[in-house]
């Protein structure tokens, strides 16, 4: 529908070149970039820090139950007396690991599959596409739930499960973009000059599909983080004391009125991370993927 192949409208032909050029759009993108960088950077720093230092031991329940924010416990304590700030810090680490891990798994499986499908033709290609479509239609949560039910709840399981569900989307996109690249003339030229398929993939296909695919992967990060949060909320994620933000929210739900911070802080952290990543992608759009515009 919208894409590079439709005839240009008058509005577009009167402008030189592609899309929202213009100071206002550029400013908005720089703002998005900065805010995104700040949000993601802050969370990443906290996550990194959590490996070396935590204000309290996560299983320390001496804090007194459901205390409000104060000097000792910056965000208060949860219903078992554990320090909330510590838990949120750990949650940052888990969210990032889950997000990056799931995207990594999705890419590691999806890209090779998508590339093979791009080279395949005829019924092999059709079958692979159909399989991808079916897998995409199967909801992330359902598949993850089934896998976790079998393997038990842990961060690794959840990460792999989410990554598996995502691989179908990555595979489909890779296939579409790779096919487009393979149809280009410079590929034919490389073939006629005797370059092997392996070199072609390395030198021509991969660099050209990377901009579009990487943007997609980045946007999947947010989806992965939210999926992990949902699974943890349902009790299928990493068990305490290494709780993810989703798990923290589930535990805090019963005391949301008496101790609201427990139900608000992890949620805000989640939103901040996902919005931060989305803003980063928006802000980097020109650099990352000129084709998409």
């Amino acid at each position: 529908m919208t894409g590079a192949n439709r005839p240009a409208t008058s509005a577009e032909t009167t402008r030189d070149g592609a899309v929202p050029s213009g100071g206002r759009a550029r400013n908005r993108r720089s703002l998005a970039l900065i805010v995104g960088l700040v949000l993601v950077g802050a969370i990443a720093l906290v996550a990194l820090l959590s490996i070396f230092w935590l204000p309290f031991d996560p299983s320390d329940t001496t804090g007194g139950r459901l205390e409000g924010p104060g000097l000792a416990h910056w965000l208060g304590t949860d219903r078992l007396g554990r320090d909330l700030f510590t838990q949120v810090m750990i949650g940052a680490r888990i969210a990032l690991v889950a997000g990056i891990g799931a995207v990594g798994v999705g890419a590691a499986i999806g890209m090779p599959v998508g590339l093979s499908a791009a080279f395949a033709a005829g019924w092999v290609d059709d079958t692979m596409s159909a399989a991808m479509d079916i897998l995409i239609a199967f909801p992330v949560l359902l598949l993850a739930m089934l896998i976790v039910a079998v393997q038990g709840a842990s961060l690794a399981t959840v990460t792999v499960a989410i990554g598996l569900s995502m691989s179908a989307i990555v595979a489909r996109l890779t296939r579409v973009v790779a096919k487009r690249v393979l149809a280009q003339q410079y590929i034919t030229a490389a073939r006629t000059s005797g370059t092997s398929w392996l070199s072609i993939v390395r030198q021509h296909v991969l660099p050209n599909i990377w901009p579009t695919v990487s943007v997609n992967l980045a946007s999947q990060f947010g989806v992965a983080v939210l999926a992990e949060a949902s699974l943890s909320y349902l009790g299928l994620g990493a068990p305490p004391p290494n709780s993810s933000w989703g798990r923290l929210l589930q535990e805090a739900q019963s005391t949301v009125v008496t101790a609201p911070l427990g139900a608000v802080a992890p949620g805000i952290a989640l939103v901040a991370l996902v919005i931060g990543v989305n803003l980063l992608i928006d802000g980097l759009r020109d650099i990352a993927d000129p084709i998409q515009n």
Binding site: P7, A8, S10, A11, T13, T14, G23, R24, A25
Partner: protein, 270 residues
């Protein structure tokens, strides 16, 4: 009284760049003016500004008096009655100018009903007549078709029919044949020339092709980077250009004129 008076027209894009700078010209009833320039010269934007349909984000300043009414800065409701009735427009790419989902007969019926007041079977008759006027064979089939089901030349004829259905006094044609094949171009231009002449309409013809403009108009305004470079009759612009840019343009025109003549010769046996 001039049909159109443009004074010091400026069009600014959202990033603060002036795409049209201080352009002024007039068009009298029945007069034809060409707007010539390369892409980016601001000629199309000038055309859009005349009818008050600049793309979103572009701001016009200065003055455009169309039929005695100011267009620049005017509220939409004062512009609507003028469009079509006083001044009409033909776009460059008929494929995008026509609604892809709607049958062409219905699209054509809209301006006809609005400006000629027909209804029911009289409207249907008028639609077929309009298609006939632009020399489209099988007008019924065309009326039942959608834009992507017919050829480019046929599409542009339908667009011309729509523009003329309004019986405007001034017709603005923005590169109407640029998107068409060369052989078809000649036919469509001949049609346009004939129809505009028949109704004594004034016309602004926008193009980057001096040869085409010379075929359609007597006077032309040469534009470059948003500014009006030179204005005069076509023979003068070709023979004794005052500005070096006009000279470059004329030289380019002569080269294509030869090719054009060859295409015309091919198109003639009908």
């Amino acid at each position: 009284m001039n049909l159109l008076e443009v004074s010091s027209l400026r069009v600014m894009s959202p990033d603060g760049v002036y795409r049209v700078r201080d352009v002024s010209f007039t068009v009298a009833p029945g007069e034809r003016l060409g707007l010539i320039g390369e892409s980016g010269s601001g000629k199309s934007l000038t055309a859009f500004a005349v009818i008050g349909l600049l793309p979103a984000g572009l701001q016009a300043t200065g003055s455009v008096m169309l039929g005695g009414t100011e267009v620049v800065g005017a509220p939409e409701k004062s512009l609507v009655p003028m469009r079509g009735r006083l001044c009409s427009f033909i776009f460059q790419e008929p494929l995008t100018a026509l609604d892809p989902l709607m049958r062409l007969g219905r699209q054509l019926a809209e301006p006809i009903a609005r400006h000629q007041g027909h209804r029911g079977s009289a409207l249907k008759r008028a639609v077929l007549d309009a298609l006939d006027e632009v020399h489209l064979p099988e007008p019924e089939r065309i009326a039942n078709s959608r834009s992507y089901e017919i050829s480019g030349g046929q599409r542009q004829r339908v667009a011309i029919a729509m523009a003329l259905a309004c019986r405007p006094k001034l017709l603005i044609a923005d590169e109407p044949t640029t998107a068409l094949d060369v052989t078809v171009q000649a036919e469509v231009l001949a049609l346009l020339d004939h129809l505009v002449g028949d109704r004594d309409m004034a016309m602004i013809f926008v193009s980057h092709d001096l040869a085409v403009v010379s075929r359609m108009t007597d006077q032309a305004l040469v534009m470059r980077s948003g500014e009006a470079v030179e204005k005069g009759s076509i023979p003068n612009l070709l023979a004794s250009p005052q500005h070096p840019y006009t000279a470059e343009f004329a030289a380019g025109a002569r080269r294509t004129e030869a090719a054009f003549a060859a295409a015309l010769a091919q198109a003639r046996p009908e």
